[in-house]
Structures are given as C-alpha cells and as structure tokens.
C-alpha cells in the first residue's frame, strides 16, 4: 500500500535547467496538490487539480506548470529553474474537497531540490 509516491527524492539543478517532478497515488483520489516548503514559510500551494484533465493555480504558481493526464499522476514542471525555486516539494492527494467536505490530505515524502 504505497499511498503517495514522489520521484525523485533529491535533485540538484543548474540555473536555467528544466525538470519534472512526478507524483503518483494509488488511492483513487480525485484531488491532488503540489506544495513547496521553505524554512519559516510553512507550506505554500503551487497548483492543484480537482480531477483528471484539470489544473488550477494556487498561491505561488509562477515558474511552474502542471499536468494531470491520468487520475493517479500529477506532474510538476520547472521550465527554467531559478535559485529561488530551491525548496522541498510535497505532493498530496485527497478523496474529497469543496464546501463542507473534509479534504483530509495524504502526503508524499517530498522532493528536495537545489538550484545552483
């Protein structure tokens, strides 16, 4: 029972390089999320998806793109990495969300990204 799996776990990029972070969940959840966590800043929402084929911007979407081609996968792309994108990235999924829903989120173990 894997839950939410993120790959890779660690990555070092040079400024201007691109990469894709993969998130996979095996719980058949409709809702998926990408957060970044920086020291002293807590978690900030980058993008989220309310179902297969849908994406929406969160609090800090600039410099990132996402895709949800399959229900179980949510990809986060950095087209041209910048040092400001050095962070720990977390993916999460939930079964229900929206008005009066519980939206209990299940998190992956994170991807530690350094941009030099």
């Amino acid at each position: 029972n894997a839950g939410v799996t993120q790959t890779p776990k660690f990555r070092v990029l040079k400024t201007g390089q691109s990469m894709t972070l993969l998130c996979a969940q095996d719980m058949n959840h409709e809702y998926m999320y990408w957060y970044r966590q920086d020291p002293g800043m807590g978690l900030r929402l980058i993008h989220y998806s309310v179902g297969e084929g849908t994406t929406a911007k969160g609090e800090v979407p600039d410099g990132y793109n996402v895709s949800r081609l399959k229900k179980q996968n949510f990809l986060l792309g950095l087209e041209s990495a910048a040092p400001s994108q050095t962070s720990v990235y977390f993916c999460a999924s939930s079964y229900s969300a929206g008005f009066s829903a519980k939206n209990i989120q299940y998190f992956g173990a994170g991807t530690r990204l350094s941009v030099l």
Partner: protein, 110 residues
C-alpha cells in the same frame, strides 16, 4: 498568505509533560485540521474538527475550536520522545485546497 498561524513557533518539554500549541486563523472555516511532520518526512493528518464542534479527542490528542475567537488548540498529553515533530494547523483555502500555518516545532526530551 497563510490563513493559520501557530503559536509558539517552538516548544521544548520533557517526556510525560503535556504540550499545548495554538492556531489562529483569519476567516470563517468549515473545518480545521492538525497535521504532524517528522523531520525529513511528509505531513500526516492527525485530527479534524468541524466548525460546529468545540472539542474533539483522539487518543492522547485533544483539539478545541473557538470560532468566535478564530482559534484552535492542540493538546498532547503525556508526551513521548516520539512526539518530537512539527505540528501544523490547516484551514479551508480556495474551495478545494487547504492553507497551512508555519507550524510549531515540538521537542520532547527524555
């Protein structure tokens, strides 16, 4: 910006003592959740309290919610070294997302 703000930022106690951390938020909510994050790991859901509830228990956890003051507290009784972690409150944000606070870092020493 963060909806929820935890207080204190850091807390150090000895095993067996109780740990209390607080969360304040700005706008009306449907429910409030608490999560735990062990060092180097992802967040784990602990407990959810709905806006029409005032108190909820789960094992050694006790959560209170005061919607008039827009605040919640998490009490961990009889703390153990294994409770060492960061604790976050989360409230509704946008329609389908959560807003996490900056967290309280709890250290429980033997």
């Amino acid at each position: 910006s963060q909806q929820g703000e935890e207080d204190p930022q850091a807390l150090s106690i000895q095993e067996g003592e109780n740990a209390t951390m607080n969360c304040s938020y700005k706008t009306s909510i449907n429910n409030l959740q608490w999560y735990r994050q062990n060092s180097g790991r992802g967040l784990v859901h602990l407990i959810l309290i709905r806006s029409n509830e005032r108190e909820k228990h789960s094992g050694r956890l006790r959560v209170t919610l005061d919607t008039s003051k827009k605040s919640s507290s998490l009490l961990i009784t009889a703390s153990r070294a294994a409770d060492t972690a960061s604790y976050f409150c989360a409230t509704d944000f946008y329609r389908y997302a959560l807003n996490f606070g900056k967290g309280t870092s709890l250290l429980v020493t033997p």
